[in-house]
Amino acid sequence: MARTLRIKDHWREQHLFASRLLVSIVIVLGLTGIVVGRLVQLQVGQYEYFSAQSSGNRIRVQPVPPIRGLILDRNGKVLAENTPSYQLEMTREQVPDMADTLRRLVTSGIVQEGDLPELKELIASRRSFDTVVVAERLTDEELAAFAVQRPHFPGLEIRARLGRSYPYGTAAAHVLGYVGGISADDKKILDPTEYAGTTHVGKISVERSFEGDLHGTSGHEDVVVNVHGRKMQVLDRVRSLPGRDIILTIDINAQLAADTALQGRRGAAVAIDPRNGEVLAFVSTPAFDPNAISAGLSRRAYLALQEDIDRPMFNRALRGQYPPGSTIKPMVALAALHYGVVTPERRVGCRGAYSLPGSSHRYRDWKPEGHGAVDLYTALEQSCDVYFYTVARDLGIERMGSFLTTFGLGDLTGLDIGGEQKGLVPSPAWKKKAFRRPADQVWFPGETVIAGIGQGYLLVTPLQLAHATATVAARGQRFQPTLLKGSRDPATGTIEYEAPKPLPPVPEQEAAHWDAIVEGMHGVMQGARGTARAVGLNAPFQMAGKSGTAQVFSVGQNEKYNAKDVEERRRDHALFVAFAPLEAPRIAVAVVIENGESGSKAAAPIARAVMEAYLQGATPTPGTVVPAS
């Protein structure tokens, strides 16, 4: 080590050191001051902010979804309920030997060998304390098999989940609708806090329209979670309130009778209580299986439903629009009586066809040889077309159309489930608007003539037809059709009933006029020569009805109609309307069978079956009612 040139000056060095020590002390205190200042800033100045941040970190609000309300029929039969389906769930961190557990699950048949890779991936993707569904919708056998072996499967748990189920399956599918996962569109209209924990929402029909009642009120749990999201502690719990039970006006016996009778057909049947507008049966066939849809369809199964040529997703009762055919005749007859165009006694000669003055075009009667001289009763009983051609022309389209609209035709009935079609009651004004070419905008007299027998532009839905028939049965009193009888508080069991909603009545006061058409309709079913007397035979009650056959396409002027030559889907639609009992009607029915050919043969038995099921409380047995065409 080299010798230093300078001599150490101890006193001076100590003095220097002392001054440096003082500077150091100042620095130490200064930096300490900075640290303390920062502490005060964070813990005093920003305490509120960080306190909130800290709570936000650890407290999660977990929604507790409510239990969906039941749907019941008018007699309390359950139409939609929540049933537990059992699933096997695994919590990874509780499984001591994952590989061994999975292998034994495969050997016990609960998990398929082929599903194993996907399952392993699923397990790996979740946090160790999350539950993973290993197997869904376990059968009773699988459930029993697992229960026995349960001690050997730590970390696996059978858990019940509530799913929507519809005991009557397809029979009430179109009226009840179904539930499904909440879609992006649903989210736009649903309250996000109420639906935070809910997985399914009503998609169509009753399930959708009464969603607000059925859903209930969501509860929530405030839980403390750690950084991994694991629930550590429950701070607060607000119970959910189950949804209200919806009691429908539907009578499941009538519904089943209609559904059974319509099996294998494309058609619809709607039954309404004429005294209050309550819908007793509401069937559209073919239908979908609401249980399968609510449980979740595969994309392929869904597409198959959508693309089915018979359109099982299409609600024909609500949205199907058909020419009413001869079922319109009682209302046309009443219009004629109302405006004094005919009297019940006045006879019209029928020689099998009708021609407008100065025209050679022949409007044919369904009976080529003609009915002879017919009065109103016979015209209805035998469905004489020439009589109604004549009456229609004398009435004129304006008066006839406006009178038909007083029955609710051509407008929405206001049924509680949305999506109705309006149908159509044509008028010259309508035609002017509906067509673009001036030549088409002219109303032709011939169009009035065929409107008299429910052909041409006239369109009705089965629901409208049932409503109109109920109005006839109630002699002009109208009630808005409804599916809602009331709703029940699930906790107290108290039921709030809905009051009937009267609509403006048909402006016809003359009882004799109503008697005349009701008589004619009675004759259809129980008269000596009624078109549906075969169906009315041996009935335990008196009833009135009217058959209808609507052309799907027009037959040429001199062709003979031959059903065998016509492809099935181009055959005439068969319609029937009826009500009973005659003296004090409690049920009015409209039946439409697409391509059913004959109203009196195909549709009338269905109408009778529905009325009988409702009035007698008879449970129909499959295959007894409908004669194949």
């Binding site: 060095e13 002392a18 150091s24 502490l39 800290s54 970190n57 403390v224 750690n226």
Partner: protein, 380 residues
């Protein structure tokens, strides 16, 4: 006495007043004030660690065992007289250099950096240099007139930057900076001219961009994160955000022992090591944090008092530098946890879990105690 310049009486209390405990302390060459401060800090450490480690006693006992080992190291160092320490400085430094070389050649890799050496027990040789560098510098400056000449400055710069370079490429930037800091403190206390100090500070400022260029990506990220933690709230910014939430939500009185939600629910990362100060701030509040800082100040203050009272240049410089460097550890860690400087991986001295740094620190306190308790022997 030839050290009256501070105007403080450096004469120990009259022997008549000394009780039994004082005599035991004297016999073991321990310093009561330092022991009291260290004991207080260790007590807080045990409380905080028990809370931060999920109330697991076995983890706590591990740390208590490390404390005992560190206490042993302190006891040993306290017995060695300052003159022997001075003579052994170069040896320690040389041993440190050899071990650092070994680390670079064969070292274990922990957390992405090569810092550990496994010689029966795993330890970081860079820790030795925390003592070796200042000791060697003080030894070099001991016999030379102060303030140091330019040639001596070059020599001590080499003493500093040879090991620092080896540590920096491990990479262990935090330790490297702390060693540079301890060296700087020695030179500062040695009376380095203000012109030099300003010059070096200016040079360091100018070197910042260059430093930026040689930094690893993760180090750059830490700096950027400090400036804006919210830019990456789940990544690099997460530590700072969560620790600020923990401290801030503690308020004045804290959430109570074992009740800190940020710590107990594991939102706070590294809560038993580098971020233990956040646990203390959350559970014991501003008052708890201030109490800890006061204990630290007691230790630092006593260390500076020992330095002021030290009889020779080596003891003076070493005692002063060890004390001030200790304070810098405290400052760097607390400032880092409160988001004032980048996350550099410096534990909170005596409080964070871990053995190596505590052994070094306690050995340093042993040196301070040796300087204090052997003073009269030297002086006479």
């Amino acid at each position: 006495m030839n050290t009256p310049s501070l105007g403080i009486s450096l004469e120990p209390r009259s022997r008549v007043e000394q009780g039994l405990s004082a005599r035991v302390l004297r016999f073991l060459h321990l310093d009561g004030w330092l022991l009291a401060g260290i004991g207080g800090v260790l007590l807080i450490s045990m409380l905080a660690l028990y809370s931060a480690e999920g109330q697991r006693l076995d983890e706590l006992f591990d740390q208590v065992a490390r404390m005992l080992v560190a206490f042993g190291a302190m006891l040993v160092m306290a017995q060695i007289t300052p003159s022997w320490l001075r003579r052994g400085s170069a040896l320690i430094y040389a041993l440190g250099l050899v071990l650092l070389t070994l680390v670079l050649v064969t070292g274990d890799i922990g957390k992405g950096a090569q810092r550990w050496l496994d010689l029966g027990i795993r330890f970081q040789p860079s820790e030795i240099m925390k003592l070796g560098v200042p000791m060697t510098m003080c030894w070099l400056l001991h016999e030379r007139p102060l303030p140091p000449s330019f040639g001596i400055l070059l020599l001590v710069a080499l003493v500093i930057f040879l090991p620092v370079g080896m540590i920096a490429i491990q990479p262990d930037l935090g330790t490297a900076i702390l060693i540079v800091l301890s060296g700087a403190v020695v030179i500062f206390l040695a009376g380095l001219g203000w012109r030099y100090i300003i010059g070096i500070a200016a040079l360091a400022g100018a070197a910042m961009p260059a430093l930026w260029l040689v930094m690893h990506d993760y180090q750059r990220k830490r700096v950027l994160t400090l400036l804006d933690p919210q830019s990456d709230p789940l990544g690099a910014g997460y530590h700072i955000i969560q620790s600020k939430i923990a401290i801030g939500s503690g308020g004045v009185f804290g959430k109570g022992w074992l009740n800190g939600t940020q710590g107990q629910l594991e939102f706070l990362p590294e809560r038993h090591t580098d971020f233990i100060f956040a646990v203390i701030g959350e559970e014991f509040g501003l008052l708890g944090a201030l109490a800890l800082l006061l204990l630290y100040l007691l230790i630092v203050g006593r260390g500076l008092y020992i330095a002021a009272a030290a009889p020779d240049t080596f003891s003076r410089l070493l005692a002063g530098s060890l004390s001030i460097t200790f304070f810098f550890y405290v400052f760097v860690n607390t400032a880092m946890v409160m988001g004032m400087i980048p996350v550099v991986g410096v534990p909170l001295p005596l409080v964070s879990a871990g053995g190596t740094s505590m052994v070094t620190l306690m050995a340093g306190f042993g040196i301070l105690m040796s300087i204090q308790t052997h003073r009269k022997l030297v002086a006479r």
